[in-house]
């Protein structure tokens, strides 16, 4: 019998315990993977080369304050600005309050240039630009409500006192958040009676190098006016929302720690249980001439094997699960994506490996210190 065969036999000698231990490790690592992924989805807005070029200009006091539309001409004249679009969060209700998805009034002819990573059908785009009361909708929102191109859609204003009635002229896919609805700022202004205000301006800079200077220039241009601005990168803008979640990061972090700790405890006690009941056998192995390290090696391999098997089931189970369910539908729009990244998988497997090492530490020490006579005297 080979050493490997011997280890496998030992692992399998108590199948019930094997299954229970592997499953409890797997469940813990499954939770770890889910929590880390949730944390990542909540706190790390997706960022691409394109999005790194985008800036958001908002009112300095807060997002709830609006900017005069006349700022646009001055921003467009600044060096480093490629595209500048009016961009207002509409935040209306579609049929029912729970059917939330983001809606923005913007300049229709500019969105394709602003969001280059999204794909628009040129024909649909042309239709959308043509139709003042048209809108273009992300594929996820289209699927969620079973919408079709050409269909009418009415939003009920909550923040703004108007109810735009629109025709869906096109669908976009990929890149940015696939749930948005974009419609014409002109149409919105008309419904509101041309108040001459916008929520924000979204800008695309000509190059990444131009960004720091541009941010400074925009904010300086409007300093000491009634509506001072705050310009930040799209990423910083989104992280601003994330920081408002407050201590959620700490909360999830501490839950993960507790889970990992609990798991160590359980596995370590199972391992020492498994070793203690075979002290006599280990003593016999020693008597047969296996040196202490070789015997410890058997224990380490066994505990490692258990932990890593649990890790594989838990982490990759989560990975497999979330690849095959539509998280957007399951959580009703709370999560857009739920990507279990290689990074998170690696973290989970690392924990499994550490777990294997830690849980065999005490049994290994006992085995090393035990003399053959003591071991043979052990009853069970």
């Amino acid at each position: 019998m080979t050493i490997t065969g011997f280890i496998i036999r030992n692992v399998l000698r108590n199948k019930r315990r094997l299954v229970l231990t592997v499953m409890s490790v797997a469940l813990s690592l499954f939770l770890y993977t889910v929590l880390q992924t949730a944390l990542r989805e909540l706190t790390q807005p997706a960022s691409t080369e394109e999005s790194a070029l985008r800036l958001v200009v908002r009112h300095r006091v807060s997002l709830a304050n609006v900017l005069p539309v006349k700022y646009q001409a001055r921003i467009e004249n600044l060096p480093g600005v490629d595209v500048c679009s009016q961009f207002t969060w509409f935040g209306g209700i579609y049929q029912e309050e729970k059917n939330f998805f983001p809606q923005f009034a913007c300049e229709g002819d500019k969105i394709a240039r602003l969001f280059k990573e999204a794909t628009f059908d040129p024909k649909e785009m042309a239709d959308f630009i043509e139709d003042r009361a048209g809108c273009i909708v992300g594929v996820k929102t289209m699927e969620r409500f079973g919408l079709k191109v050409g269909q009418k859609i009415t939003l009920q204003g909550v923040i703004w006192d108007c109810d735009p009635e629109m025709t869906i002229r096109g669908v976009y896919r990929g890149g940015i958040d696939e749930t948005n609805l974009f419609f014409h700022h002109d149409y919105f202004d008309e419904l509101m009676g041309n108040p001459g205000v916008v929520g924000t301006f979204w800008i695309k800079a000509t190059s990444a190098a131009a960004i720091p200077g541009l941010i400074e220039r925009i904010d300086r241009t409007f300093r000491n006016t009634d509506a001072e601005t705050k310009t930040e990168t799209e990423r910083a803008f989104q992280l601003g929302f994330v920081s408002m979640f407050g201590n959620i990061k700490m909360l999830i972090g501490s839950i993960c720690t507790v889970i990992v700790f609990t798991m160590m405890l359980v596995t370590a006690s199972t391992m020492s249980m498994a070793i203690r009941e075979r002290m006599r056998e280990l003593a016999i192995l020693k008597a047969l001439g296996f040196d202490g390290l070789r015997v410890v090696g058997l224990i380490v391999a066994e505990s490692f094997g258990l932990a890593v098997a649990g890790g594989l089931v838990g982490c990759f189970g989560a990975w497999f699960l979330f690849r095959h369910i539509d998280i957007y539908k399951v959580t009703q729009g709370f999560f857009l994506k739920f990507d279990v990244t290689p990074h998170i998988l690696a973290g989970g497997m690392l924990i499994a490996a550490v777990l294997g090492a830690v849980s065999c530490a005490i049994p290994a020490r006992t085995t090393l210190r035990m003399t053959i006579i003591e071991g043979l005297k052990e009853l069970d």
Binding site: T21, S28, V61, A227, M244, I248, V258, T262, V266, S269
Partner: protein, 387 residues
Amino acid sequence: MAVPLKYNLRNLRVRWRLTAATALGIGLVVAVFIMVMALAQGLKATYVSTGDPRNLLVLRKGSTAESNSQIMRAEVSRMRYLGGLARDAQGDPLMSAEIILLIYLDRVDGSGGANVLVRGMKAAGLTLRPQARLIEGRMLRPGLRECVVSQRIADRFANCRVGQSFRSGATAWTVVGIFDAARTAYESEIWIDADEARAVFHRDFFGSVLLRTEGPAAAAALTKRMEADRILQVRVLPEADYYREQTQMAGPIRFMGAFLAVVMSIGAAFSAMNTMYAAIGARTREIGTLRVLGFKRREIYLSFLAESVLLALMGGLLGCLLALPLNGVATGTIGWNTFAEVAFEFRITAGLMAKGVAFALVMGVLGGLLPARLAARKPVLEALHAA
């Protein structure tokens, strides 16, 4: 006769290492469950305690929150003369036209900033909110760009102590007082004068009107009158109902708590099972002896189940102890309706702890069922012969 409980207790003590590890495992699961639920509970309690049962809140028709409602000045004057309003000692009606705004303030520890809710209110606003009382300084005087802030804002945000001032846009606001709001949602607010707020933030309307009527009958009558009024386009609801609606925010947190609890408890039940199987495996001969002594299968089954439940009970109590220090710890999150930060506390109630322990007991029962059955079904002779 049942197998004495002492037998189980002694066994748990003999294998104390395994007992401790399993109990701690179960305890941690219970602790996580209690903590997450305490978070949801705290959030809910904060909102529920905010509304005063005697107050009515008036919003624009179709509005779901104060932040997106508009009430015109003419409408406010009209409401004043509809009658039925309670009056203060000076004979002024208890009615406050208010507007809420957001400003961005830096945190005191320099870790960035957050949107803070600023409420512009009339003088009656303080009387209408008996939960809030000044604990330092004085109430603001209109027209001087003065504000009062809640204790918690003063602790969490920079430049919010009495005598200090902070800027928003071109205006500097001087803090003249600090109020304690008895753990209500007002703990997350800064109060300024409503007309100043409209002037500084360029709003020609109010957001909502808070008022108190002479009694429940007057409240019903006034609600009816206002909603039927053709000039007023408003929605009137009891203040308490408005804040109760906000508690749905606790939903995702509760969901997370439940999800974690279920998955973790399956894991913990596995470990309890492991422990019980080990305990039974090591005592096979004892079980045989018990049977020979005349204990029935049922009694042995119940005895081992009791042992598992005892183990879980210890875990559950331990979990409560572990979670308890968190009671009253303050935290904050974003309020979806206002986009401002809401501060609240973890609240661990007796009911919640009871739920935690009950939960542990369920784990104990689930973890003990199969092993106990195995113990009870062991043939006597075979058990006696076991090594």
